[in-house]
């Protein structure tokens, strides 16, 4: 599982209103993703992620209040700007998602909170 250790300062993602977009910390990339289910629920979840200009992506999820992340590593598939991610959220609550990115523009990362209902 990839590292996510970024501050949880980003607003909780909106649900049910099309792709969620987060700008990476240094502003090099814009991460856009949709989820299934939407809104997210405990259990299996599928993400479709697009990041224009990125060539590699890693993903992590952390539930800070409980002090733990995903019990099983997420399955990431895709390359060059489009990925799918399958993971299992063990429980409801606020999860901080992290995307670590690399591409021609350089390395960067994006993070934010989502509510798993």
């Amino acid at each position: 599982m990839m590292l996510l250790l970024l501050a949880c300062t980003t607003p909780v993602a909106d649900s049910g209103s099309g792709p969620t977009t987060w700008t990476s910390d240094a502003g090099l990339y814009t991460v856009a993703f949709t989820t299934d289910p939407d809104p997210l629920l405990s259990g299996p979840a599928h993400f479709d992620v697009t990041v224009e200009g990125a060539t590699t992506l890693s993903f992590s999820a952390l539930m800070a209040a409980m002090g733990h992340g995903l019990s099983e590593d997420p399955v990431i598939d895709g390359a060059d700007g489009a990925w799918t991610i399958d993971c299992i959220f063990p429980m409801s609550g606020t999860w901080t998602l992290g995307f670590t990115l690399d591409g021609e523009a350089g390395a960067d990362s994006a993070s934010g909170d989502v509510e798993v209902q």
Partner: protein, 267 residues
Amino acid sequence: MMLLLAGHAWASACCGTSSDTPAVLARCDEVGVALMVGGSQHLARWDDNGAVVATSDSQIQLTGTLAGAARFSPWLQASISIPFIGTWRSAGELETSAGGLGDLRAAARLQPSEAWAHMIDPYVEIGVITPSGTGPSQSDDPLAADITGTGELLGVAAVGVSRTPGLWPWHIDARAIGAPGATNSRVEAGAGIGRRLTEHWLLTANGSFAQGIVEPTRRTALGLSTVIDGGPRIRTWAGATLDLPVSQLGRSLPVEGGVSAGVMFVR
């Protein structure tokens, strides 16, 4: 024999409320061995804003705890408790169950003045919670049903005062649990008042509040318990606790209900 007031402890942020009554010796007891069983269920959750919201997962947790206590002097007793935790969880079409040894607890309780015991009985407690259970970072169950502990070594410091004799026994206590940087560091406060129904039968209403220090978690619970002296060497108790499903009385934790029962043999 004096009846002791049932207390309430919070197992961990992740495990939630695990109602267990600490093995505490009365002043006339020398040693004691206790067996406690309990069960709890997630009913809802407090979100990060403190609102009570529905949860899409289900959890039922059973706990069995073996505990022992020994008195070394009129003012010093020590105890150890060994919990075993089993958890069933479901989310969507997934359903898992797991369990095992929880976090061992050891504590020393100082009761400074025997002379006050007929009026009020203050105590100071120092203890430790060891990460003998499966911590969140060690979990490999997809729904984290195998988590049985905090994964952190935590110190415990508590103070309290109780009045055991009389028709209306009561207790007030406060404790700090934590370690530098530990996610589960928190402060807790509790109080209870009982009504002695007979010489050997006590009914107690308890309230407790816990506030996370590192993470802004919060929980408020009410409980009802009964203690019955089964003779000079046997003490039994049973109780129920309910996290109050009221906005702002909790934060970032499940709302749980639980029941527990125990028996303690003393000499």
